[in-house]
Structure formats: C-alpha cells, structure tokens
Symmetry: C2
Subunit: 433 residues, 2 copies
Amino acid sequence: MQPYELSATEAAGLIAAGELSCEELARSTLMRIQECESAIRAWSYVNADEVVRNARELDKGIPRGALHGLTLGVKDMIDTFDMPTSHNSPIYYGHRPSKDAASVAIVRQRGAQILGKTETAEFAAGGRFPNTRNGRNPRYSPGASSSGSAAAVGAGMAQLALATQTGGSLIRPAAYNGIHGFKPTHGLVSTEGAKTFAPSLDTIGWYGRSVADLALMASVFRIAVPEERPGIRGLRVGLCRGPNWQHIEAGGEAALLAAARRLEDAGAIVEDLDLPEELERATALHGVLMRGEGRVSFFNEYVQHYPMLHEGMRSLVEGAVSSADLIQAHDGLAQCRRVFDGLFGKDLDVVITPPASGEAPLADAGPPPMTSAMVFCAMWTALHVPCVALPVGDGRDGLPLGVQLIGARGLDGRLLAISHDVAEAVTGDDVRY
Amino acid sequence: MQPYELSATEAAGLIAAGELSCEELARSTLMRIQECESAIRAWSYVNADEVVRNARELDKGIPRGALHGLTLGVKDMIDTFDMPTSHNSPIYYGHRPSKDAASVAIVRQRGAQILGKTETAEFAAGGRFPNTRNGRNPRYSPGASSSGSAAAVGAGMAQLALATQTGGSLIRPAAYNGIHGFKPTHGLVSTEGAKTFAPSLDTIGWYGRSVADLALMASVFRIAVPEERPGIRGLRVGLCRGPNWQHIEAGGEAALLAAARRLEDAGAIVEDLDLPEELERATALHGVLMRGEGRVSFFNEYVQHYPMLHEGMRSLVEGAVSSADLIQAHDGLAQCRRVFDGLFGKDLDVVITPPASGEAPLADAGPPPMTSAMVFCAMWTALHVPCVALPVGDGRDGLPLGVQLIGARGLDGRLLAISHDVAEAVTGDDVRY
C-alpha cells in the first residue's frame, strides 16, 4: 500500500506515531498526481515545489493540529494566498489573492498540506465547465461544479478537499466519484474569501475517503462529533424518495433500496418518509433564490468584464427575478426549514435519499442541464440542513452509486456520528439492478 | 461656494454641463481634507497623488457613468485593489487586497473617484474604535462603526461614502453627523470583498448630502427610484416609537415629534404605529444572530492571529451561542419579517422612527456600550428592510438630530421616492426641546 492510498485518518495516525513522515506522504501523493492527472485533469494548479518544502517544515516542527501533513485540494473559487485563484474564468486567469479564504486559513493553520487548486465550473455557478474526468474512470463525468475536488479525492490525488454547494455541487460529485462528502448546516463554516453565488445557499464543505475523514475536518471547524455512537439497532431511518423522484434512474433507485435493505438487516427501522406538502415547492423556491441572488453576485463582473463573462453568466445577471418573488422565496423556505426540522425527534433519526439520479454519465455528453444536475440536492441546500454522501457500491457501468443522509439543522455532529455506523452497514461490493 | 460643498447630484450636473472639471472637484476636496482632517481623523488612508491623476484621466475620457468624477470614501473593511484595507486591526495593518470588493468595483466603473479609506471600528464589529470625531464638531462622537465615512461626508471631505450596517453602524452615524444615509434591503448589494461579521445581517449602504445623492448611488446598484413622486398630501405615515423607546433622549423625541408635526402640516396622515407583539423579540433575536454568526466569522483571525485580535473580538469567538438558539433566531426573524412587511399597504406607506437616542455624545465619553448604540437600528437591520436617515435640524448642543424612514423589503426605490418628499417637509433650522 502506498502512502497516497491512506485515508486522512489513517495517515494522521501513522504520522502521529512517527511511522510516516509528511514528506513521504507528500511525495507519494505528488507521484500519484503525475500518474493520473493527464487523464483526469482535476487540478487547475499544483503547488509541486512548495508542497515538498512545506512537508519538510511540517516534519521539523511540533504537530500543528488535527490535519498535520494531510494532503488537501482547494476548489479553485476559494482564495489562497500562495496560488492563483482562477474561478475557471478568463477574468481571473492567474489571479493571485492577497490572503487565504477563512476556510483555507483554518485548515492550513491546523497543519493541512495544500496541494493545489481543483477545477470548478465557472464561479462554481455555470458558464464554462472544466474538462475534468471522473476519478474512477476517465470516460465518465465527475459531476459539477466541485469537479476537480471530487475527482482528485476519488483518484487518490488528495486525501481531503474543500468544495462548495449552492445547488448540488458537492454531494452529486461525491456520489459520482465514489467518495464521502459533507455539506454542513448553512452558516457553520465561513464563506469569506470564496466566490459568492447565492449567499443564502452557498455552503463550504469537504470530501474524504471515510466518514472518519469527514469528522476529522469537521473538528477543525468546531463541529464536534459525539464520542458515543448511536448504533444501527433501533435507528429510525426515513426513506425519502422526495418530490423529484421522476428523475431517478434504475441505478439510483437500486442503490437507495439496497442501502435501506442493508440497514434493516442490521437492525434499523426503515420507513417510507412522505414529506409534508409545504416542502413540494422547496425545489422551485431554491431556483428563485439562486437566480435572484446570482443576479446580484455577478453584477460586478458583468459591469467590469462583460466580454469575458460567459453568456450563461450574463443571462443570470440580466435575469428578471422580481423583488417580490425573491422575498417570497426567502419567506417560503424559512417556513419549509421549520417544517422539515420538526420531523426529527421521536420517530425519525436520519433521512436517507438519493444524492444523484444514478451513475455518472459519459463525459462526452457534456454538462447536464442545471435543473436535472441538482434535482436531488437543491431542496436540501435550501433547507440549510447537513448532508452526507456515502458510497454504497458499484453499478452496472462499474461506476459508484451512493446515498445521501440528511439531518436537522445544527445537528451536524449527530449526523456524522450516525453516518459512521450507516456507512459500515450500507457499503457493499456492487449494486444489482 | 467651493466645489467640495456641492452635493453629488449638483456636482454631477455641473460636470455633465462642462461647468466643473473632475480635477477641480478633486483638488477642492483634497484641500478640504487638508483643512479638516487633523481635527476629524475620518481617514485611515487618502490616495492623494492618485486622485488628481485619476481626475485628469476622467476629464480626458468620455463620461464613465452616473458617478463620473464624484468624490467617494470607502469604509476601511471593504477591499480596494489600490489602497490598503486595514479593518482597524493590527492583523491587517497595511494589507493590500488583490482586487476591489464588488461594491467598490461597481462604483469605480461608474466613474466614482475613490479618495481613500475611512476609519471603522475593528472589523466593523467591535474591539478597537478609531479616534474619529464628529464631522460637525470635533468635540463629539461621530457614532460607530462607519465613523469615518459619516464624518467625512459630514465635514465636506467627500460627497459620498460606502458604509455597512450589521447592527446600527450606518444609520446612527448618519444622524450624528447630520447627513443622509441609506441601508438597502439585505442582499440587494453584494457584500463580496467586505469583511464578514454576521452574513444574515451585514448590509452595504451609503451616505450622501441629499436624498437625491442616495438615489444616484442606488441607480448604480440597479435600485430604480420611480420618476413619479408620491407627494406628502395623503401620505400614510406610521409614527413608531418602537420597543426600545425607554432609551430615547429628549432631543431624539423632539426630533421625531417635530418631523411628525411638519409632515402633518404638509398634509400627511400621521398615526401612531404600535408594532405587533411578535416584533417585540426582534431586537433580542438580532443579538443572538450577531453573536452566533460573529462566532464563526472571526474564527479565522482567532486561530491565526490570536495575540493581535482585540479581547472584545476574542470573546465573540469564544461565545457560547447554541445551534438551537441560532436556528430559533433565524426562524423567529423570518416570521417577524413577514409580519412587518404585511403592515404596509392600504393603511401605511412609510414608518418614521428614531435613528439614535438623540444628539451625538461627547467623544471623550468613549464608545457607548454596543446594545445602547444600536438599539434604534438593530431590529430594522434584522428585518432586512430598507432604511433612510434624514437630518431634521440641530438640537440643544448644536449637533444634528434626525429621523429614520423605513419601508417594506424590496421596495427600496419607493422608500427613496417618499424620502425625497419627506426630507423637504421635515428639515428645519433647529429642534426645540
């Protein structure tokens, strides 16, 4: 086993025990990047020279924190002081921010080794899409917009990566690349220094190779995971097909049902969850919020750099979401959030639902239409709830299939604790359908 | 009359007519800064050399937009690519951002002449306060946190200035310095590139010397003011003492009642507005939101630069606002917003309420406790509604007294149109009490 194959948690243990140096881990990971990158194209920038130097410095000093020496990619719309932040936009090509985004500064201070910047859809919103390929099989799409972060972790080119979600940009790529993803409750992680798209929705989260990896990163952002594991026996799981079930594919359905069956086999109480009627409009209201806030967020680039802004982004700025509609969306979603959180309690511990329609599509098919791309995630983003993506097994095309676990707002630590046990129960070799 | 004495709208007219050059305006304003700055200390940085050069470039080119050549100050927690952004924090002393904040880029693109950076409370939040003095009388306080922006406009050292409000940081200083201030509906102006304090509250707005100046800036951010003026006759005005009336001083009360009387004399229908009971908790919920979100926003500086972070900011990060309380504040305020907006319609056009407790206190008294400082503004910030500060006349100490006008969310243009007429009716020489 090569060091790059270790999960973040495993590597952290070996580094702490003096059995692995930060430099060994960094060099092994850089080798892996050299091996895969031409096919996967996950990175917009790799800080190769600095990484080895940084690793040596880390090896010389006292342990910096929970992420000491662990390798991490940063989505290229989150600022880094020592690398360009290009947003996959010609406007910002080679742009050098003067300081780290808050999230980057925090992981760096806790010892993370920032390998480079990972490819993103233009401004994590739309417009240009990168040529990144699926980390498991380069013929397939990695999902957007956190394409590079998910593919890098999926292909073993980073142990951890920062990503963002405004619609379904974090969870769907996790499922496509067969990795673990976590989108915290909205507002728990500062988005300062990341490009704004729709501030009421924009959320920074991360990828890892296990739930333990997700929890390790969470601890750095003061999201504490309870020591005591709830266990699967008696866990009340709501199986939620959701209001957009018509978009599901055979693989996505099979993955959800396989996971539910495995949970039942392990002693969970799985029951169908029919969402209250109010939540049926949540996906539509999410769209209003995204377009209404996006109209404001990219006005700066529109005014300054019109010719270099992609047509898709221009039409967002020119969009005609009325104040009244935007306010109605804010108010409607506020009500939806209360209703959804109210479901948790004595009859419900966790919701299980699809993270995407099925296996990753072929890369040559181009980016999918925005709506179908985020349809299994948008509502949850708008509800501000914590979401975890877990791989379940491989599907018919040999690509990963996953499930998404959802908790109530603010109970992020509890969701991660539950996810730990659920992950052990649901993961299998393949998903038949 | 010197060019620096012109309002933004007046100067824009003269520049467009070729009767005033951008250079003349810039030089006159720089002279005024030289004259006043040692007493007022409104600026953390003045871009003196560049200002004249920029003005000459503006004079050579075609008109850039609505703000062509107008002089503008930028609160020193909003990024500028060509000047330091220090946040009144030793951590960022002399820090040079690599690009303009969205709001700065937009006003610059529309031709504004950015004179320099204006003093702020540390991170526009707390901790260190600047030594800025009231623009009308240096013995008195300018109000915080937008101290420098308000004092600069008040003393004639800038025609316009960008400011921010999370509690009462924009409206209260407007009242203290006898100028006009506008806080738009939350979310209408991108806060990208401004320091984050409490994202659900943080709002960028501006100061000017007339309502027309406020509307001119609004147009640049695509907030359209209807051409047709509503007029005062028949205008339904809700006189709102609000849930924190016990903090009012004699001067503040006299200003509010004088304005109400003048509006009635001009034909308005002024009636006492008792707010619905739900709104009584809005100020308290605002406090929870500010502390709960501030706890996340300054965690980066806390982790990286603990020794240089003011004790007041440290305790914000160490604060123990629970997730449950924070979520309850979000949900409670969402409900308050709907209730408040619902008051507008056939019986109510605009709310008139105090912007501050009274005249500015003496500067030597030091910064007032946070709660009493923002008590007449915090609720409105939390309600996300547009707010306008208008001067009414001078009080017993010879310092300005004002009122605050409030509209429903998203009806910013209508509020500015109403404010235009109200300003003409309420402004007098002095306020007796």
